[in-house]
Symmetry: C2
Subunit: 138 residues, 2 copies
Amino acid sequence: MFSIGQLSKATGVKVPTIRYYEEIGLLPQPGRNAGNQRRYGQDGMDALGFIKHARDLGFSLEDIKALMGLDGQLGEDCAEADRIARSQLANVRDRIRKLEQLATELERISHLCDGGNGGCCKVLTALGDHSQCATEHG
Amino acid sequence: MFSIGQLSKATGVKVPTIRYYEEIGLLPQPGRNAGNQRRYGQDGMDALGFIKHARDLGFSLEDIKALMGLDGQLGEDCAEADRIARSQLANVRDRIRKLEQLATELERISHLCDGGNGGCCKVLTALGDHSQCATEHG
DNA sequence: CTTGAAGCTCTAGTGACTAGAGCACTTAGG
DNA sequence: CCTAAGTGCTCTAGTCACTAGAGCTTCAAG
């Protein structure tokens, strides 16, 4: 049996966050001891570990709820879990592409300040004017 | 003189968002007409354009407030604006790096489902277990 | 002059937490 | 057995950057 603090230490999820996950129905309600404190078993530990890892992989709590709901059935859940994972992968790839365009743009803007400061600063102007941009960002 | 709707169309910022920017003091309060409706001049248009572009570049509203506060002074603002832009660039690069690790991991997880479904689904297991990961993500 | 679009204010909701108040309970040492 | 520190409890409210909706007023075109 683990206390909420032990669970927190073991998984790296903060105590209020664990209570929050319980509140929104993501984490099953654990038993309580005589003094009304939460006591978790290995299943609670596993569930929280799953959530933590999926969160680190960028899944939304809603996705995670769906993934956890799949567990236990056979056959279809593979396809469905895979679909969710793939959609998350597409999402991540898209974010990378956008961020790369932003990095290009920010690099360009930063270089505007490089050549001394006689009559600089073009940085503010560049930030304000999309038509100066070399790439299509945003 | 522009109405809030015209400003919205011209900049691509939604009407409630413009009002929100005004509410938090990011956008100066415009004049009102006889019927209490907002009327903007070119300065309002420029300010909103600046905000929009900087938002697209990933700056927080707080950063943008700081950048807008710099405008008008000479000398130091270049250094300060450049500092903010560079810090944002570093931030973006960091996010790209992290997302790339996630993409690698998600690709690996997705492939677990490829070979038919006899005794698959490892996807849920992989999502739950960080020790199976090839890279350090999160 | 009518009608429909656009404007106004205000409140509340989103996601995923985080912070703080003000208690009760547990645990280790004496 | 007692005490003090630490941990736990619930509850409310705040974060960021909006978004949605109610219920009203004003504007612009025909």
